[in-house]
Homo-oligomer: 218 residues x 2
DNA sequence: GTCTATACTACGATAGAC
DNA sequence: GTCTATCGTAGTATAGAC
């Protein structure tokens, strides 16, 4: 079971990438046990034994799929985190605007149709976290959460410790639920699928709520 | 495939109930495809073919499990909805307090360890809603959402239509994320499991946020 | 109604050709 | 590296005893 060297170049081996893309969808839709390596290989246009060769087996593929998702999310969110951080540090942006910028970016991602591909994967891991969750948390959730906590602490110096973290969780929770409770959201808004108007509306509601929460005792 | 009559008495046939309890856990933990009727029957202490007899097969059992979950949640939440509604209508309770009472009840449920049993089932259905989601929505989500929307409309008469519904969704989303993003929440709070202190903290954060959002331009 | 026994299918893993 | 072929296991459904 020879393992290829990790590939740090921009261009991932097409076969690996095709398998990973297919795996994310299958694991997301059907869960770990429900997904079949046969179906993943078929969707990727390769033989099932490629999975054994490339990832060592189903479990290895699952972990690699978590990294694959993490990389995609990080590619979207890390530039925004860095922009927000440096703008605040240079004094160009008030901390509350940075919070709104980050949460807005997250909301944009959650409301985008493309996040459906990996949403199931993550909500499953949230219910029964394993090694895949560790990787996702370290790669994307932790950097975002810690920056949010720091920024919120500047906006609301009356908060600290666990109380500050609980407020941060509530703010982030509003955004998470745009994906995690997608079906209920659509019914509450009485629509079949999200259009531009609803995306705008949800963005505005989020902005208004965050300002209301953080500007208390302005 | 004779179907027994629906049972409206308080006492469900113990075999049916044991199967349903086991099914909720298995479907929740492993998903529809991942759960096995063999394992469910074993956990329930009966033969696999009892499932065929009682529910017509795996799919019938899945739908019955959704109803089972809905009934449990409804048993907790409907009394609170009714109490809130009548207290507001009699003028004994300001609408905003009713909103806090309902969201507090929801949060209590989401933070209770017992909701882990069915949380996985619901978040899966949220990602790929089917007939099971229809039943859950009609039985518990819709009555709660519609009452919330009505009450919030009274607190904030400047809101209406989809804008009102978007705000309602954001408020409920904070509560949903206590379960749907449980693993991330624990890490953000830097704890292994929820204790009484953290429950209290999250309750307080929720209350403070809801008041801030709804009392804007008080 | 609940059991045992069994038919049939699909799973993951792996060996070996190329 | 990727393929085909095959092994052993576990899945759902169902027939039939009691």
């Amino acid at each position: 079971m020879k393992k290829p060297e990790p590939n740090f170049t921009a261009e991932i081996d097409p076969v690996r990438k095709r398998i990973l893309d297919a795996a994310v969808v299958q694991f997301s839709d059907r869960g770990y046990e429900g997904a079949s390596t046969r179906a993943i290989a078929r969707d990727a246009g390769t033989a099932m034994s490629s999975i054994t060769y490339q990832f060592g087996g189903k479990h290895g593929l699952y972990l690699a799929a978590a990294d694959h998702i993490g990389g995609q999310i990080a590619g979207f969110i890390h530039p925004r985190l860095n922009a927000a951080r440096s703008a605040v540090e240079s004094g160009a942006l008030p901390p509350i605007e940075a919070v709104l910028m980050i949460l807005g970016g997250m909301a944009e991602m959650m409301l985008d149709d493309r996040s459906q591909k990996w949403a199931g994967f993550i909500v499953r891991e949230q219910q029964e976290p394993g090694e895949a969750f560790d990787r996702l948390y370290g790669q994307v959730m932790e950097p975002m959460a810690e920056l949010m906590i720091e920024l919120i602490g500047r906006v609301r110096p009356d908060l600290s410790g666990k109380r500050l973290r609980a407020i941060a969780m509530s703010l982030v929770g509003q955004v998470i639920s745009l994906r995690a409770a997608r079906a209920a959201m659509l019914r509450i808004l009485d629509i079949k699928k999200l259009g531009a108007a609803e995306r705008e509306l949800l963005h505005e509601a989020l902005q208004a709520n965050v300002r209301a929460i953080l500007e208390v005792k302005g």
